[in-house]
Symmetry: C2
Subunit: 337 residues, 2 copies
Amino acid sequence: MKRSNMPQHHETMNLSQTIGWFREHQKVLVLTHVRPDGDAWGSAVAVRRLMERLGGSATIRLTGWLDPMMRELFPDEPVTFDDPNPPEAEAVVVVDTSAESQLDRDAAFCRSMEDRLLVIDHHAKGDQWTHACVDATLPSTTALLAKLMLEAGLSLDQDLAEPLLLGLATDTGWFRHANADAGAFALAGSLIAAGARRDRLYQATEGAQHPARLSLMATALGRLEWLAEGQVAITGLAHEDFVAAGAGAEVLAGVVNEPLSVRGCGVSLLCTEVTPGLVKVSLRSIPDEHGRPILDVAEFAAQFGGGGHRMAAGCRVPGDLSTAMATIRDALLATIS
Amino acid sequence: MKRSNMPQHHETMNLSQTIGWFREHQKVLVLTHVRPDGDAWGSAVAVRRLMERLGGSATIRLTGWLDPMMRELFPDEPVTFDDPNPPEAEAVVVVDTSAESQLDRDAAFCRSMEDRLLVIDHHAKGDQWTHACVDATLPSTTALLAKLMLEAGLSLDQDLAEPLLLGLATDTGWFRHANADAGAFALAGSLIAAGARRDRLYQATEGAQHPARLSLMATALGRLEWLAEGQVAITGLAHEDFVAAGAGAEVLAGVVNEPLSVRGCGVSLLCTEVTPGLVKVSLRSIPDEHGRPILDVAEFAAQFGGGGHRMAAGCRVPGDLSTAMATIRDALLATIS
């Protein structure tokens, strides 16, 4: 979420140079950001399979947690977790991030390997690396990997297409977000035609929510307040709500978008007091008919030391839920008026 | 929803014969089913524009209500509503249905015009007509119209592509349903590339919900009951809930799908008592890993005189909400065990 404070990074290698790099390295270690999402996991799996097709081999090492449903999609994929002795590797590929902060404790290791390290990413912001294949116009890192596979002359089959579709589908919010452009749909079409089973990907992501999600969502939506004549929606969940539900805010991914489905609503805020006395605020905004967000939520979040993108940001406000929400409400009304 | 009781209808005209039919007729009347959805309205607009490109002209006549947001997408499209004196037309095109029952009071008029009437539809069930261009393998009627436009040698531009994307996107639940196959994604990609503005279509459909939707949804989700070890979810809204919200069950479209997002849940029922003493039950089912629904909801609904598809059906049960829900719950448990 702090990507807005990062510099722009830029591509140093084109598709053909990147495939050349893959062909030169026989044994690579694949890393990605902490708490890998569908695009990170899909990209890691796709790179490992790509390396194998090119005659090399690769090992994926993840830091921290991987959603068990994501793991089950590719259960035989060799992966190590938090391995204190990283496997011997002659080179490293980092996918779906170029930000040292997102590499956590691997950051120093990566910098030490920089001359033998390749970053493949679709984010506009991040740290600069010597070998970087980056295309920020693409909706997912797997969309970039699809281009690389075609550049390598591979024909896509189910094994290659399925992890690519996972990243594409999850990073576009299952084709609901504005980054689901003509290229995203066309790529999805060819990945499904190549054998990617959309149903199992859909079930493992959109259909695999925690049972507590719906009761917490019911509570949050039941408390929704509308500000600025319905243009802004704000709601919150207190610490005791999470205790009662037996789940944390991680089960609520996407719930902040619900109010944006209402006609006229352009900004939505979800406040969650997972830790007593500290409220996390998620902010979302959608463009008006001129393509501009009603509120630049990254700028708003910056008032509270947070950050993000113009249309998706976050910050933390001390206090219990009602105190923090009052603070946020006042700041919102001052900003909008 | 009664389509399961209808016969299979079949195509009598291929793409090239259908284009020939269009070229032979200079002035046509376009009809569709009552309460047109995105595919019906998109198809009607697309046919009118297609007729114009082929040198003819067409008028759209709708029966009953059209969602104002749908209307606003194509505000200049000439349309009449419930016109007691249907405009003079030498021929009729019926889109997105072939069922007489869905044509309501136009059914007799259509049969009287049958030798000069063309049905264009993607539903597998319906009544048989002399001139029918039908493809039940396609996700929307607009997908069939896209094929017809290509057959006619037209190159797609924004005016043609936008109504086609509206039908495709809404009939696939914005590419979330299982009918969003490779062809659906590929077509969406080419329609967007041709100029269809997905953002305005998304905003006018998914982003144009009634404000009461979220409070009714909160109430319904807050009352969710899980049966059969979490495989079945059931909830309901009483007449007084609708009175308090100042809205009817039409604002809840899609809410019945929410429980299906929870891991392990394969069947969802939403009971709505819009009229006191009569409960409408919406049933949804999703396939298990073998592609089979846990419960054939059409068969279940038939017990109560309802019907539909294996994965989406409806029925009506007399009684107040709690009486009707008890009836449904008992029948469910008897069917599943």
